[in-house]
Protein backbone atom coordinates (compact mmCIF):
# COMPACT_ATOMS: atom_id res chain seq x y z
CA UNK A 1 0.00 0.00 0.00
CA UNK A 2 1.57 3.23 -1.13
CA UNK A 3 0.07 6.65 -0.41
CA UNK A 4 -0.98 9.08 -3.12
CA UNK A 5 1.51 11.67 -4.29
CA UNK A 6 2.35 14.65 -2.15
CA UNK A 7 5.10 17.20 -1.86
CA UNK A 8 7.31 17.05 1.19
CA UNK A 9 8.67 19.88 3.30
CA UNK A 10 10.96 19.78 6.31
CA UNK A 11 10.97 23.23 7.92
CA UNK A 12 13.56 24.02 10.61
CA UNK A 13 11.44 26.37 12.71
CA UNK A 14 7.88 26.73 13.96
CA UNK A 15 7.61 30.03 12.06
CA UNK A 16 8.58 28.30 8.79
CA UNK A 17 6.13 25.46 9.44
CA UNK A 18 3.30 27.87 10.17
CA UNK A 19 4.11 29.90 7.07
CA UNK A 20 4.11 26.77 4.90
CA UNK A 21 0.81 25.64 6.40
CA UNK A 22 -0.91 28.95 5.74
CA UNK A 23 0.64 29.42 2.27
CA UNK A 24 -0.25 25.89 1.12
CA UNK A 25 -3.78 26.02 2.47
CA UNK A 26 -6.04 23.23 3.54
CA UNK A 27 -4.42 20.52 1.40
CA UNK A 28 -1.37 20.73 3.68
CA UNK A 29 -0.98 18.60 6.78
CA UNK A 30 1.66 18.66 9.50
CA UNK A 31 3.44 15.32 9.98
CA UNK A 32 4.47 14.41 13.53
CA UNK A 33 5.21 10.77 14.41
CA UNK A 34 3.05 9.75 11.48
CA UNK A 35 1.68 6.60 13.08
CA UNK A 36 -1.92 7.71 12.63
CA UNK A 37 -1.51 9.75 9.46
CA UNK A 38 0.72 7.47 7.35
CA UNK A 39 -1.53 4.39 7.69
CA UNK A 40 -4.50 6.61 6.77
CA UNK A 41 -2.58 7.85 3.74
CA UNK A 42 -1.78 4.29 2.68
CA UNK A 43 -5.47 3.47 2.82
CA UNK A 44 -6.15 6.71 0.89
CA UNK A 45 -8.44 7.83 3.70
CA UNK A 46 -6.14 10.84 3.97
CA UNK A 47 -4.75 12.41 0.79
CA UNK A 48 -2.82 15.54 1.75
CA UNK A 49 -1.19 17.29 -1.20
CA UNK A 50 1.56 18.67 1.02
CA UNK A 51 3.21 17.14 4.07
CA UNK A 52 5.03 19.40 6.47
CA UNK A 53 7.34 17.19 8.49
CA UNK A 54 7.90 18.64 11.96
CA UNK A 55 10.88 16.39 12.76
CA UNK A 56 13.41 19.06 11.80
CA UNK A 57 12.17 21.55 14.40
CA UNK A 58 14.36 21.27 17.50
CA UNK A 59 12.19 23.75 19.43
CA UNK A 60 9.32 21.23 19.46
CA UNK A 61 11.35 18.71 21.47
CA UNK A 62 11.96 18.34 25.15
CA UNK A 63 10.42 18.45 28.60
CA UNK A 64 10.95 21.39 30.97
CA UNK A 65 9.56 22.82 34.19
CA UNK A 66 7.81 26.16 34.06
CA UNK A 67 6.74 27.09 37.57
CA UNK A 68 4.39 24.33 38.71
CA UNK A 69 3.87 23.10 35.15
CA UNK A 70 5.64 20.51 33.09
CA UNK A 71 5.87 21.81 29.53
CA UNK A 72 6.23 19.04 26.98
CA UNK A 73 7.22 19.87 23.41
CA UNK A 74 4.78 18.55 20.84
CA UNK A 75 7.39 16.37 19.10
CA UNK A 76 8.37 14.61 22.32
CA UNK A 77 7.79 10.90 21.71
CA UNK A 78 6.03 8.41 23.95
CA UNK A 79 9.40 6.66 24.26
CA UNK A 80 10.96 9.89 25.57
CA UNK A 81 8.09 10.34 28.04
CA UNK A 82 8.74 6.82 29.30
CA UNK A 83 12.47 7.51 29.59
CA UNK A 84 11.96 10.78 31.48
CA UNK A 85 12.70 10.73 35.22
CA UNK A 86 10.97 14.11 35.37
CA UNK A 87 7.70 12.59 34.14
CA UNK A 88 8.04 9.48 36.30
CA UNK A 89 8.49 11.68 39.37
CA UNK A 90 6.07 14.55 38.74
CA UNK A 91 3.20 12.79 36.98
CA UNK A 92 3.53 9.02 36.95
CA UNK A 93 0.06 8.67 35.37
CA UNK A 94 1.57 10.01 32.15
CA UNK A 95 4.15 7.26 32.32
CA UNK A 96 1.49 4.64 33.01
CA UNK A 97 -0.68 5.78 30.08
CA UNK A 98 2.22 6.14 27.62
CA UNK A 99 3.16 2.51 28.26
CA UNK A 100 -0.33 1.45 27.16
CA UNK A 101 -0.11 3.24 23.82
CA UNK A 102 0.47 0.90 20.87
CA UNK A 103 3.77 -1.02 20.98
CA UNK A 104 7.48 -0.22 21.42
CA UNK A 105 8.18 0.60 17.76
CA UNK A 106 5.21 2.95 17.57
CA UNK A 107 6.20 4.61 20.85
CA UNK A 108 9.64 5.46 19.44
CA UNK A 109 7.95 7.54 16.75
CA UNK A 110 4.57 8.51 18.18
CA UNK A 111 4.49 11.98 19.71
CA UNK A 112 2.45 13.58 22.46
CA UNK A 113 1.53 16.45 20.12
CA UNK A 114 0.26 14.11 17.43
CA UNK A 115 -1.63 12.06 19.99
CA UNK A 116 -3.50 15.03 21.47
CA UNK A 117 -3.92 17.14 18.31
CA UNK A 118 -5.29 14.49 15.98
CA UNK A 119 -8.71 14.50 17.62
CA UNK A 120 -9.05 10.73 17.38
CA UNK A 121 -11.45 9.68 20.16
CA UNK A 122 -9.42 6.48 20.56
CA UNK A 123 -6.20 8.25 21.54
CA UNK A 124 -5.20 7.89 25.17
CA UNK A 125 -3.54 11.22 25.96
CA UNK A 126 -6.51 13.57 25.38
CA UNK A 127 -8.68 12.32 28.28
CA UNK A 128 -5.59 12.19 30.45
CA UNK A 129 -4.73 15.80 29.58
CA UNK A 130 -8.27 16.87 30.46
CA UNK A 131 -8.01 15.00 33.76
CA UNK A 132 -4.74 16.74 34.59
CA UNK A 133 -6.06 20.18 33.58
CA UNK A 134 -3.50 20.61 30.79
CA UNK A 135 -3.32 23.52 28.33
CA UNK A 136 -2.27 23.32 24.69
CA UNK A 137 -0.15 26.01 23.01
CA UNK A 138 -1.36 26.61 19.44
CA UNK A 139 0.72 28.71 17.07
CA UNK A 140 -0.43 30.21 13.80
CA UNK A 141 0.34 33.11 11.50
CA UNK A 142 -1.45 35.44 13.91
CA UNK A 143 0.65 34.40 16.91
CA UNK A 144 0.23 31.95 19.76
CA UNK A 145 -2.75 31.15 21.95
CA UNK A 146 -3.44 28.73 24.77
CA UNK A 147 -6.48 26.47 24.83
CA UNK A 148 -7.47 24.25 27.74
CA UNK A 149 -7.50 20.56 26.83
CA UNK A 150 -11.06 20.47 28.18
CA UNK A 151 -12.12 23.02 25.51
CA UNK A 152 -10.08 21.61 22.64
CA UNK A 153 -12.14 18.62 21.50
CA UNK A 154 -15.29 19.44 19.56
CA UNK A 155 -16.03 16.21 17.71
CA UNK A 156 -14.29 13.19 16.23
CA UNK A 157 -11.15 14.55 14.48
CA UNK A 158 -12.58 18.03 15.00
CA UNK A 159 -10.66 20.31 17.35
CA UNK A 160 -10.09 23.96 18.23
CA UNK A 161 -7.09 24.05 15.85
CA UNK A 162 -7.72 26.69 13.20
CA UNK A 163 -6.42 26.22 9.65
CA UNK A 164 -2.73 27.16 9.59
CA UNK A 165 -2.17 26.47 13.28
CA UNK A 166 0.00 23.79 14.83
CA UNK A 167 0.04 22.54 18.39
CA UNK A 168 3.54 23.27 19.69
CA UNK A 169 3.50 22.21 23.34
CA UNK A 170 1.42 20.81 26.15
CA UNK A 171 1.57 22.43 29.57
CA UNK A 172 0.52 20.17 32.44
CA UNK A 173 0.11 21.34 36.05
CA UNK A 174 2.03 19.00 38.34
CA UNK A 175 -0.48 17.30 40.66
CA UNK A 176 0.11 17.73 44.41
CA UNK A 177 2.65 15.50 46.13
CA UNK A 178 1.05 12.34 47.47
CA UNK A 179 -1.75 12.31 44.89
CA UNK A 180 -3.22 9.02 43.78
CA UNK A 181 -3.48 8.19 40.11
CA UNK A 182 -4.45 5.42 37.73
CA UNK A 183 -5.09 4.91 34.03
CA UNK A 184 -7.19 1.80 33.47
CA UNK A 185 -7.47 0.71 29.86
CA UNK A 186 -9.34 -2.27 28.53
CA UNK A 187 -8.09 -3.29 25.10
CA UNK A 188 -8.38 -6.41 23.03
CA UNK A 189 -4.67 -6.81 22.41
CA UNK A 190 -1.38 -4.97 22.56
CA UNK A 191 -1.44 -2.03 20.19
CA UNK A 192 -5.19 -1.62 20.15
CA UNK A 193 -7.17 1.44 21.03
CA UNK A 194 -9.22 1.25 24.22
CA UNK A 195 -12.53 -0.54 24.31
CA UNK A 196 -12.93 1.90 27.17
CA UNK A 197 -10.44 3.59 29.48
CA UNK A 198 -10.54 5.84 32.52
CA UNK A 199 -8.00 8.21 34.06
CA UNK A 200 -8.24 9.22 37.71
CA UNK A 201 -6.21 11.75 39.68
CA UNK A 202 -7.25 12.28 43.29
CA UNK A 203 -6.06 13.40 46.69
CA UNK A 204 -7.08 11.88 50.00
CA UNK A 205 -7.27 13.67 53.33
CA UNK A 206 -8.18 11.97 56.60
CA UNK A 207 -9.31 8.84 54.79
CA UNK A 208 -11.74 10.73 52.54
CA UNK A 209 -11.34 11.76 48.91
CA UNK A 210 -10.54 15.50 48.96
CA UNK A 211 -10.19 16.25 45.23
CA UNK A 212 -10.88 14.06 42.23
CA UNK A 213 -10.78 14.31 38.48
CA UNK A 214 -11.91 11.55 36.09
CA UNK A 215 -11.35 11.39 32.34
CA UNK A 216 -12.80 8.89 29.86
CA UNK A 217 -11.22 7.57 26.64
CA UNK A 218 -13.00 6.17 23.58
CA UNK A 219 -16.52 6.09 24.95
CA UNK A 220 -17.74 9.14 23.03
CA UNK A 221 -16.78 11.03 19.90
CA UNK A 222 -14.57 13.20 22.11
CA UNK A 223 -12.66 12.49 25.31
CA UNK A 224 -14.79 13.28 28.34
CA UNK A 225 -14.44 14.66 31.84
CA UNK A 226 -16.76 12.70 34.11
CA UNK A 227 -17.58 15.67 36.35
CA UNK A 228 -20.60 14.20 38.16
CA UNK A 229 -18.78 10.94 38.80
CA UNK A 230 -15.87 12.88 40.33
CA UNK A 231 -18.25 14.94 42.48
CA UNK A 232 -19.92 11.75 43.71
CA UNK A 233 -16.72 10.47 45.30
CA UNK A 234 -15.52 13.65 47.00
CA UNK A 235 -15.91 13.49 50.77
CA UNK A 236 -16.36 9.71 50.72
CA UNK A 237 -14.09 6.82 51.61
CA UNK A 238 -14.92 5.15 48.28
CA UNK A 239 -17.26 2.57 49.77
CA UNK A 240 -19.02 0.14 47.44
CA UNK A 241 -22.17 2.27 47.15
CA UNK A 242 -20.12 5.36 46.19
CA UNK A 243 -18.12 3.44 43.59
CA UNK A 244 -21.35 2.21 42.06
CA UNK A 245 -22.77 5.72 42.03
CA UNK A 246 -19.63 7.06 40.34
CA UNK A 247 -19.64 4.32 37.69
CA UNK A 248 -23.32 4.98 36.97
CA UNK A 249 -22.71 8.72 36.67
CA UNK A 250 -19.82 8.10 34.28
CA UNK A 251 -21.82 5.64 32.18
CA UNK A 252 -24.59 8.23 31.88
CA UNK A 253 -22.38 10.54 29.78
CA UNK A 254 -20.86 7.79 27.61
CA UNK A 255 -22.03 7.44 24.02
CA UNK A 256 -19.60 5.01 22.40
CA UNK A 257 -19.91 3.76 18.87
CA UNK A 258 -20.73 0.11 18.34
CA UNK A 259 -17.71 -1.34 16.55
CA UNK A 260 -15.43 -4.37 16.54
CA UNK A 261 -14.67 -3.63 20.19
CA UNK A 262 -18.24 -4.34 21.17
CA UNK A 263 -21.81 -3.10 21.19
CA UNK A 264 -22.74 0.14 22.92
CA UNK A 265 -24.07 -1.39 26.12
CA UNK A 266 -20.95 -3.52 26.56
CA UNK A 267 -18.60 -0.62 26.03
CA UNK A 268 -20.51 1.52 28.54
CA UNK A 269 -20.56 -1.32 31.03
CA UNK A 270 -16.81 -1.90 30.85
CA UNK A 271 -16.32 1.89 30.87
CA UNK A 272 -17.99 1.92 34.27
CA UNK A 273 -15.72 -0.90 35.41
CA UNK A 274 -12.65 1.04 34.26
CA UNK A 275 -13.84 4.03 36.35
CA UNK A 276 -14.31 1.80 39.39
CA UNK A 277 -10.91 0.16 39.03
CA UNK A 278 -9.14 3.46 38.39
CA UNK A 279 -10.73 5.04 41.46
CA UNK A 280 -9.75 2.10 43.65
CA UNK A 281 -6.20 1.93 42.38
CA UNK A 282 -5.74 5.71 42.56
CA UNK A 283 -7.00 5.74 46.15
CA UNK A 284 -4.65 2.90 47.09
CA UNK A 285 -1.72 4.96 45.80
CA UNK A 286 -2.69 8.22 47.51
CA UNK A 287 -0.59 9.17 50.50
Amino acid sequence: MIPGSFSYYRPASVADAVKLLSDLGEDARPLAGGHSLVPMMKLRLATPAHLIDLHGIAALKGIRHDGNNLVIGAMTTQHELLASDEVAKAMPILHEAALLIADPQVRYRGTIGGNVANGDPGNDMPALMMTLGATYRLEGAGGARDVAAADFYQGAYFTALEPGEILTSVSVPVPPAGHGYAYEKLKRKVGDYATAAAAVVLTVSGGKVATCSIGLTNVHETPLLAVDAAKAVIGTSLDAATLKKAATAAEAIMAPAADARGPIEYRKHVGGIMVTRALQRAASRAK
Binding site: M1, I2, S5, D53, H79, P104, Q105, G191
Partner: protein
Protein backbone atom coordinates in the same frame (compact mmCIF):
# COMPACT_ATOMS: atom_id res chain seq x y z
CA UNK B 1 6.03 13.92 -8.69
CA UNK B 2 9.62 15.14 -8.64
CA UNK B 3 12.06 12.71 -7.12
CA UNK B 4 14.29 13.61 -4.24
CA UNK B 5 17.87 12.55 -3.78
CA UNK B 6 18.40 10.83 -0.45
CA UNK B 7 21.55 9.62 1.25
CA UNK B 8 21.81 7.52 4.37
CA UNK B 9 24.04 4.97 5.99
CA UNK B 10 22.74 1.40 5.81
CA UNK B 11 24.65 -1.36 7.57
CA UNK B 12 27.70 0.86 7.73
CA UNK B 13 27.81 1.80 4.05
CA UNK B 14 26.78 5.14 2.55
CA UNK B 15 23.92 4.64 0.11
CA UNK B 16 21.91 6.98 -2.05
CA UNK B 17 18.92 6.92 -4.30
CA UNK B 18 16.15 8.87 -5.99
CA UNK B 19 12.75 8.52 -4.37
CA UNK B 20 9.33 10.03 -4.58
CA UNK B 21 8.24 11.60 -1.29
CA UNK B 22 5.62 8.87 -0.99
CA UNK B 23 8.17 6.05 -1.23
CA UNK B 24 8.07 4.16 2.03
CA UNK B 25 11.38 3.38 3.66
CA UNK B 26 10.72 -0.36 3.44
CA UNK B 27 10.35 -0.10 -0.35
CA UNK B 28 13.53 1.93 -0.63
CA UNK B 29 15.44 -0.70 1.34
CA UNK B 30 13.99 -3.63 -0.57
CA UNK B 31 13.72 -2.26 -4.08
CA UNK B 32 16.35 0.47 -4.41
CA UNK B 33 18.96 -1.18 -2.21
CA UNK B 34 18.01 -4.79 -3.02
CA UNK B 35 18.10 -5.78 0.65
CA UNK B 36 15.08 -8.04 0.88
CA UNK B 37 15.66 -9.31 4.40
CA UNK B 38 13.37 -6.57 5.71
CA UNK B 39 9.91 -7.99 5.13
CA UNK B 40 6.57 -6.44 4.34
CA UNK B 41 3.86 -8.11 6.39
CA UNK B 42 0.65 -6.36 7.31
CA UNK B 43 1.49 -2.92 5.84
CA UNK B 44 -0.61 -1.34 8.58
CA UNK B 45 2.00 -0.78 11.31
CA UNK B 46 0.88 -3.79 13.33
CA UNK B 47 3.01 -6.80 12.56
CA UNK B 48 6.58 -5.57 12.91
CA UNK B 49 8.03 -7.67 10.06
CA UNK B 50 9.49 -4.49 8.53
CA UNK B 51 11.29 -3.40 11.73
CA UNK B 52 14.72 -1.86 11.20
CA UNK B 53 16.99 0.03 13.57
CA UNK B 54 17.26 3.75 12.86
CA UNK B 55 19.46 6.08 14.92
CA UNK B 56 19.00 3.97 18.03
CA UNK B 57 15.31 3.24 17.62
CA UNK B 58 13.32 0.25 16.41
CA UNK B 59 11.13 1.56 13.61
CA UNK B 60 8.46 -0.02 11.45
CA UNK B 61 9.85 0.93 8.06
CA UNK B 62 6.43 0.62 6.39
CA UNK B 63 5.28 3.69 8.34
CA UNK B 64 8.06 6.07 7.51
CA UNK B 65 8.96 7.72 4.24
CA UNK B 66 12.41 7.23 2.76
CA UNK B 67 12.81 11.04 2.58
CA UNK B 68 12.41 11.12 6.35
CA UNK B 69 15.43 8.84 6.71
CA UNK B 70 17.72 11.34 4.98
CA UNK B 71 21.03 11.33 6.85
CA UNK B 72 20.04 8.46 9.15
CA UNK B 73 22.10 5.53 10.31
CA UNK B 74 20.14 2.35 9.63
CA UNK B 75 20.77 -1.28 10.47
CA UNK B 76 18.78 -4.04 8.79
CA UNK B 77 18.94 -7.80 9.24
CA UNK B 78 21.66 -7.88 6.56
CA UNK B 79 23.85 -5.94 8.96
CA UNK B 80 23.37 -8.21 11.95
CA UNK B 81 26.08 -10.83 11.44
CA UNK B 82 29.44 -10.37 13.14
CA UNK B 83 32.21 -8.70 11.15
CA UNK B 84 33.83 -12.08 10.45
CA UNK B 85 30.60 -13.42 8.96
CA UNK B 86 29.62 -15.58 11.91
CA UNK B 87 26.13 -15.28 13.35
CA UNK B 88 25.53 -12.65 16.01
CA UNK B 89 24.36 -13.77 19.44
CA UNK B 90 20.74 -13.08 18.52
CA UNK B 91 20.90 -14.89 15.20
CA UNK B 92 22.56 -17.82 16.91
CA UNK B 93 19.86 -17.74 19.60
CA UNK B 94 17.06 -17.93 17.05
CA UNK B 95 18.85 -20.84 15.38
CA UNK B 96 19.72 -22.74 18.52
CA UNK B 97 16.31 -22.29 20.19
CA UNK B 98 14.40 -22.67 16.95
CA UNK B 99 12.79 -19.26 17.46
CA UNK B 100 10.86 -19.47 14.23
CA UNK B 101 8.64 -21.63 12.12
CA UNK B 102 8.16 -20.17 8.65
CA UNK B 103 10.67 -17.43 9.40
CA UNK B 104 8.78 -14.56 7.83
CA UNK B 105 8.61 -12.50 11.02
CA UNK B 106 12.17 -13.39 12.05
CA UNK B 107 14.10 -10.42 10.60
CA UNK B 108 11.74 -7.99 12.35
CA UNK B 109 11.92 -10.00 15.57
CA UNK B 110 15.71 -9.96 15.52
CA UNK B 111 15.90 -6.24 14.74
CA UNK B 112 13.50 -5.43 17.57
CA UNK B 113 15.31 -7.76 19.99
CA UNK B 114 18.60 -6.12 18.97
CA UNK B 115 17.43 -2.72 20.24
CA UNK B 116 15.74 -4.25 23.29
CA UNK B 117 19.04 -5.86 24.36
CA UNK B 118 20.93 -2.63 23.64
CA UNK B 119 18.64 -0.85 26.10
CA UNK B 120 18.45 -3.67 28.60
CA UNK B 121 21.04 -6.42 28.28
CA UNK B 122 19.35 -8.61 30.90
CA UNK B 123 15.59 -8.34 30.38
CA UNK B 124 13.20 -10.49 32.38
CA UNK B 125 10.88 -12.83 30.49
CA UNK B 126 8.08 -10.30 31.03
CA UNK B 127 10.26 -7.47 29.69
CA UNK B 128 11.09 -9.55 26.61
CA UNK B 129 7.41 -10.26 25.99
CA UNK B 130 6.52 -6.58 26.36
CA UNK B 131 9.56 -5.62 24.30
CA UNK B 132 8.52 -7.70 21.30
CA UNK B 133 4.81 -6.94 21.66
CA UNK B 134 4.91 -4.94 18.41
CA UNK B 135 6.04 -8.01 16.46
CA UNK B 136 3.53 -10.63 15.46
CA UNK B 137 4.29 -14.28 14.68
CA UNK B 138 1.33 -15.93 13.00
CA UNK B 139 2.46 -19.51 12.67
CA UNK B 140 3.60 -20.75 16.00
CA UNK B 141 4.00 -18.78 19.17
CA UNK B 142 6.43 -16.77 21.16
CA UNK B 143 7.90 -19.35 23.53
CA UNK B 144 10.97 -20.18 21.47
CA UNK B 145 11.37 -16.59 20.33
CA UNK B 146 11.56 -15.55 23.99
CA UNK B 147 14.08 -18.34 24.63
CA UNK B 148 16.14 -17.18 21.65
CA UNK B 149 16.36 -13.69 23.11
CA UNK B 150 17.21 -15.11 26.55
CA UNK B 151 19.95 -17.16 24.89
CA UNK B 152 21.37 -14.03 23.23
CA UNK B 153 21.14 -12.07 26.47
CA UNK B 154 23.09 -14.80 28.31
CA UNK B 155 25.71 -14.92 25.58
CA UNK B 156 26.14 -11.14 25.51
CA UNK B 157 26.54 -11.12 29.28
CA UNK B 158 29.00 -14.01 29.17
CA UNK B 159 26.89 -16.30 31.32
CA UNK B 160 25.68 -19.80 30.66
CA UNK B 161 22.18 -20.00 29.17
CA UNK B 162 19.85 -22.23 31.13
CA UNK B 163 16.35 -22.89 30.02
CA UNK B 164 13.76 -22.28 32.70
CA UNK B 165 12.03 -25.46 33.85
CA UNK B 166 8.83 -26.05 31.91
Amino acid sequence: MAKTHVTMKVNGAEVEGLVEPRTLLVHFIRENLGMTGTHIGCETTHCGACTVDIDGMSVKSCTMFAVQAQGSDITTIEGMANADGTLSALQEGFRMMHGLQCGFCTPGMIMRAHRLLKENASPSEQEIRMGISGNICRCTGYQNIVKAIQYASAKINGVEFREAAE
